[in-house]
């Protein structure tokens, strides 16, 4: 620790770290890529909340999005696995060490095509993991093919129109058991920060679908995942503010339709409604809202669902509080008397 401690007056967070330890190596993604903005939000949020980077494990699959864990939280272990199978790797690692804060970053190809099976089972298990989908509707690393989240009728750079309907990853997550579901836009700094911080504080699975335009292959007229399309069609559900546990909740209470959701660590997600009657505890309403906005051509963003009560998979397995990885031999190898008992039963 001493090597990263710096004397004042440099700015540090509440655990005494500067922002530098939260950064990663230099991005190799295209200039203007939405994914880079998301990496920046991750750096800010983990710094702001004073998360110890040594307790974080980063996971990704294959694709442009999956390269990005190298560009943030350089002091955290990272695992760039195989295409579409990040949920399995993350699940195994978190079971091995339940004290890790898991952060998975994936793309729409990774999640909605090759990895949709693993994604659905991750959701079903409510694995304690932050699962960020950097959704640009296109395969970037293989140079511009449609993904399964591309909207019906949207076009490639070549003019080719998509004739299949998209998967809505938020709707899938809502339906099958994720306990925090949100959608955001890489260009919406404030909203994405509040969502990311909520995910850090949330103890179950957080699915965050972030529309993250691909400036090289999917930012043209005819794309429904471009910066300009999002500027025109984003419809925010709420105004969000995250108040961490170490800050005084009593300050800055805004006027009007405001409600607070208390997180397990004592933090609060402060939600100010924007016109629409919406309750983040109501899964059915969230699904309905997604359907309605899709039919209107809107991209609904904000917190769709938050359930702080449902047990996670590690709870269901009744896992030891200490990480399985560090249990001493005396806890994981039964004594000789056990072997004797079993042998006697088999005689």
């Amino acid at each position: 620790m001493s090597t990263t401690m710096t004397p004042p007056p440099k700015k540090v967070n509440h655990i005494g770290l500067e922002v530098l330890p939260y950064k990663g190596s230099k991005t190799t993604l295209c200039a203007g890529c939405g994914h880079n903005s998301i990496s920046e939000r991750i750096v800010e949020c983990f710094y702001d909340l004073g998360v110890n980077p040594y307790t974080v494990a980063k996971f990704s699959g294959i694709g442009c999005s999956s390269k990005s864990p190298a560009y943030f939280l350089g002091l955290s272990h990272g695992f760039n696995g195989v295409h579409g199978r990040m949920p399995a790797i993350a699940t195994g690692a978190i079971l091995a060490n339940r004290t890790l804060l898991g952060l998975g970053v994936t793309g729409d190809g990774d999640t909605a095509s090759i990895g949709i099976g693993q994604f659905m089972h991750l959701v079903r298990r409510n694995i304690p993991l932050i699962y960020v989908i950097e959704n640009n509707g296109v395969y970037g690393l293989t140079k511009g093919q449609f993904s399964a989240t591309a909207d019906l009728g949207s076009t490639l750079k070549t003019g080719l129109a998509n004739d299949l309907p998209p998967f809505d990853c938020c709707a899938l997550a809502l339906k099958w058991g994720a306990t925090f579901v949100a959608r955001s836009f890489s260009g919406d700094k404030r909203q994405l920060q509040a969502i990311m911080k909520t995910a850090i504080a949330h103890k179950g699975l957080s699915v965050i679908d972030v529309i993250s335009p691909c400036v090289t292959f999917n930012d043209h007229v005819g794309s429904t995942k471009s910066y300009s399309y999002m500027k025109d069609h984003e419809e925010a559900l709420q105004e969000l503010d995250f108040v961490p546990f170490f800050e005084d909740i009593s300050v800055e209470i805004p006027e009007g339709e405001v409600s607070d959701v208390r997180m397990h660590d004592g933090s609060h997600l402060r939600i100010r409604k924007l016109g629409r009657d919406f309750d983040v505890n109501d899964r059915f309403k969230a699904l309905q809202a997604l359907e309605e906005s899709e039919s209107k051509g809107e991209v609904l963003t904000g917190v769709l669902y938050l359930n702080t009560e449902k047990p996670t998979f590690t709870d269901l397995l009744n896992l030891s509080d200490d990480p399985l990885t560090t249990l001493p031999e005396s806890k994981v190898r039964p004594p000789k008397s056990v072997l004797d008992t079993v042998m006697e039963e088999l005689r």
């Binding site: 190298a70 195994g92 091995a96 890790l100 399985l324 560090t326 806890k331 005689r347």
Partner: protein
Amino acid sequence: MSTLEVSPAESLPEQSSHPVVNDFSIQVATVNGSGSQTANTVLMRSIFQMGVPVSGKNMFPSNIAGLPTWFTIRASKKGYIGRRKEIDILVAMNPETAREDVLKLDRGAVVIYDEPLKLNELRSDLHFFPVPFDKLVVPVCPEAKLRKLVRNMIYDGVVAQLLSIEMDEVHKALVKQFGKKKAKAAELNWGACKAGHEYAQKNFPQGVPYRVERMNATAGKIIIDGNAACALGCMFAGVTVVTWYPITPSSSLVESLIGYMRRFRHDPETGKATYAIVQAEDELASIGMAIGGGWAGARSMTATAGPGISLMSEFIGLGYYAEIPVVVFDVERVGPSTGLPTRTQQGDVLTTAILSHGDTKHPMLFPCSPEECFTMAQEAFDFAEKFQTPVFVMTDLDLGMNNWMADAFPYPEKPIARGKVLDAEDLNRLGGFARYKDVDGDGVGYRTLPGTNHPAASYFTRGSGHNEKAGYTEREDDYIHNMDRLAHKFEVMRQHIPEPVVTIAPNAKIGFVAFGTSDYAVRESCDQLREEYGIEASYLRLKGYPFTQHLRDFIARHDRVYVVDQNRDAQLLGLMRLDFEVELLAKLRSLRYYGGLPLDARTVTDEIIRQEGK
């Protein structure tokens, strides 16, 4: 029905006044789902309890109920527990197969059969014992719907009477089988068993030319299937993350493990589990989770069979290249594709050795017995962590799902070895580390675990090109350097893989090389060759891959070496072709069996005689 012709009328061979003692095989032909497994286990256990070496082989269909199934019990005073081809006593309960079963028997065999099948009309050179099962079951089982299940226990009584198996031992075996909780069911079955015994006593005064006599060759031994033995090995190895997807014949490995872990691996104070077992959505996920667990520092494993191995191929390449410890149990069955899912084969050896795309090589362990399932499961975890790589434990359906007589397992002597892992204190001392640097010359780098509270602990694991510091690279020199180190690591493994078991026969010109369950047939065949043909044969049983110097030496000292494979394409021999120079390869001959049944000694002996031109 069979198209076989009824054999010409032959008279019964004259019955010797000296019955064959403790050397015979019984085949019970029943219908899947009729509860015959209980009756068969009880019969096998009774003989075992009388101190006679015994083995049981279940030949069952891929089906829940209704298709034919055969259970073979072999008693052998010499201790041969491999499959024996010849059937001495047939219990014919299945009308579907009875005719063919009877026609296949050698002259002089004993047939106990369900009276209405009238099997005695088929041949005149066999000993027939008709039993009216339906009539006998009525008085002992008033509840009509249970009769189908209880009925089978009658043949236990008949066989016990004919072979002089002590009824006290049958009763003991039956009580053990049902356990204390099912005392009522045990009682009902015991009634049926006694009825069969009484019937045989009254109606079969002629007896049979076989009998069981008390011996003392099973004292202290246990009866267990290989899958349960692997499971126990995993528990005592300190496994912490277990992932699986149900597939025959590996499912019972993890199911046994679940049973043991629930009993013995919860913290006595908190009641919490010191392990996680996850039934995954498929094999892609089960190996992915196991690799994630191994990466994070768990003792991590999965169990599967051939189709699962195929699906795991991509992830295994990641495990090899990113150097992540994980143990994979492959309980092999007959492929390709779905193949014969309930029959045995050593069909995955070649694919597994080089599983995944690109240049990959993987260590494999080959247990041949429940004892080795237990010890090698433990060795596999130590090996995986020592060399930071996927390790395969290759068993098969014969070993995994059949009941075997075995020595009681030894409690592990050595402490658990976790390999090269640096903690925060180490990092304070060292200042830092390079994940893929060969510091010690054995090709194995040092790793840290996520969660290590130190600024120098983190590294980025990737399946893409990486340099010594785990940084991304596409450089030619970095890539070659890394691949060469991995090849060197594999060479170092040769010094640590379990050594083969070598038996040199004096003056032997020929030798056998075999692995896994071929062992039983090969050892018995060595005796047959010596006793029947005067041929001496040496034998090397491999316990693992990569091959060691012992194998080269063994081949070099013999004129011809028969490599025994339970697969069509001589997969073990194929692996040797990848390793050995022409002079050694010229001495190798292939001996293959791939019909899906456990290999038997007679098949081996006959094939040696054919190839040796004797």
